[in-house]
């Protein structure tokens, strides 16, 4: 649901304020262990939002979003090490710039085509980066690359909080409160009609894609500095994209708060499973089952349950169970 219901927004605003206060005071309330978990949850909420920018609002599925997360991480790692030794805050915009260049190179030719080619191209791009980073010397090969340690949990918590808050603020302003968002949603729903309304769809799609990629790179940069060590699998790995996709689908594709809900929920489940069972392949199966179930029974995600289209969503789920569909292809 893209519009605010006509009813009062006060409860929502109060809830948002309470969450923000809670987030700001978090470091005073919990120990470092839980602060790390909170930092991770913020990162995933932000990453899910960055995936949703393109996937939810523009309707293009990116199966290689980890590529941009990894580019941000690698640029920061590369520039903070010898011979550059640059300060962290300088490396972040550098990573954003590199990411933007790559996004244009991939997006310009493939976004013109139907979504499937784009999905394949992004997926292939992320895999090429894994293979490339594993083979090259300057990336540290499979072994990876270390960063100068900075063991200040609060710094990383607030860095992630700031990045996530900015990502959500920007998404809200651009996609829920401006002309730009209308253009993006228009081309998502019907591209020829959007063109007929004077919208340069190729350009708007590319802008959206670059925005989505660049925000992911910021989280990659903070992540690299935070964990002080990265390797190709840990920042480019397909599992990172898988997780983002599940979080967005679970929370609600194309909704502002869906990715936050899905991101935090899934990350907490992940940590709990890790605590009780250790690193397990079962989590992968669970992710897959979650995607299947959400697509079949909750196509609007958790956010869809709260948006007044509830009865609609349930009806559809029920209709699907008995196999009632409308015939005919929709573009």
């Amino acid at each position: 649901m893209t519009t605010q219901p006509v009813k009062s927004r006060l409860p929502g605003l109060l809830l948002l304020a309470a969450v923000l206060v809670l987030l700001a005071l978090m470091p005073l309330m919990v120990n470092n262990y839980w602060l790390r978990i909170a930092t991770g949850a913020l990162m995933w909420a932000g990453l899910a939002c960055s995936w949703n920018i393109l996937g939810g609002y523009a309707g293009y599925i990116n199966f290689g979003h980890s590529a941009f997360f990894g580019l941000g991480a690698y640029v920061t790692a590369f520039l903070m090490n010898d011979p550059f030794g640059l300060p962290f805050l300088v490396t972040v915009p550098a990573g954003m710039l590199v990411t933007a260049v790559f996004a244009v190179i991939i997006g310009a030719p493939t976004l013109r085509l139907r979504g499937a080619y784009f999905a394949i191209a992004t997926w292939a791009f992320a895999e090429v980066l894994i293979q490339f980073a594993s083979a090259m010397d300057f990336t540290g090969g499979i072994g990876g690359i270390g960063l100068p340690p900075y063991l200040n949990e609060r710094f990383f918590y607030f860095a992630m909080l700031g990045a996530a808050a900015l990502t959500y603020l920007l998404t809200w302003l651009l996609f829920e409160r401006s002309r730009f968002g209308l253009k993006v949603k228009a081309l998502r729903d019907h591209e020829p009609a959007a063109e007929a309304m004077g919208i340069n769809t190729a350009l708007v799609k590319l802008q959206t894609f670059v925005l989505s990629a660049v925000t992911a790179s910021v989280f990659g940069a903070i992540f690299a500095y935070w964990v002080t060590f990265i390797n190709p699998k840990s920042v480019f790995g397909g599992d990172i994209t898988d997780q983002m996709v599940v979080m967005v689908l679970l929370g609600g594709l194309g909704s502002l708060w869906g990715p936050a809900i899905g991101g935090v929920a899934l990350f907490v489940v992940n940590r709990l499973m890790w605590m009780y069972w250790g690193d397990t392949a079962f989590y992968i199966a669970l992710l897959g089952a979650a995607i299947v179930l959400v697509v079949l029974f909750l196509p609007n995600g958790i956010a869809g349950l709260f948006s007044g289209r509830r009865s609609n969503a349930l009806e559809k789920a029920a209709g699907k169970l008995v196999g009632r569909v409308d015939e005919g292809e929709r573009p």
């Binding site: 019907h190 063109e195 007929a196 309304m197």
Partner: protein, 248 residues
Amino acid sequence: MSPAAQTPAAGGEPILVVRDLYKHFGGIKATNGVTLEVRRQEIAGLIGPNGSGKSTLFSLVAGTVAPDSGQIRFDGHEIAGKSAHAVARLGLARTFQIPALFENMTVTENLLAAAAEGRWQGARERAAETLALLRLEHVAENRASDLSGGQQKLLEFGRAVMRQASLVLLDEVTAGVHPNIRKIILEAITRLRERGITFLIIEHDMEMVRSVCDRIIVMDSGRVVTSGTFSEIVRNSEVMQTYLGRPQ
């Protein structure tokens, strides 16, 4: 006598000039040398049997499809081969035969999206006016996909209105709708023409053509065969029989 027939094409200066427009798809000659003019502030009807090239002509003019050869001059600009969004920005709006709505957006958002590229100032007020003009206020916050077929046609038309275009191409905008909705659209067309907007309308319904169009252009086999007022076309019984299949 219908009111439209009493109003000769105002101005007379052409807003759209199409010359020798060719477009072949494989062996099919969709348009085979179309030449026509639409004058400023007139309501021109485009009729002809199925497959005569009317919709292809719309796509060519609107920039959805690039022509093989020929010229399209719109409001002083040569637009043949320009992209659809560039043509739209010059002040040409179109509707799609099958409503091409932004289905996951509300009715109001559909109208606003149509104004997103262009003059944004006052867009919300214009959207409200358009809703009133088309009697869609009660569904303003509904999702476009939840509308009835007739309401979808109205919204399709409303988006073209929101473009504030100087020329609007309507592709069977009243086909298959309830007479009440047809009446709303017809009134809107007449009122918008008074504000200086030109219309080119593809239409199969002769009653609609008679009541609203100043001039009628008849196409067949990818060419324009004749044009004139409704009574002139009707008098040409050969045209009526061959192309409209309805002897008078």
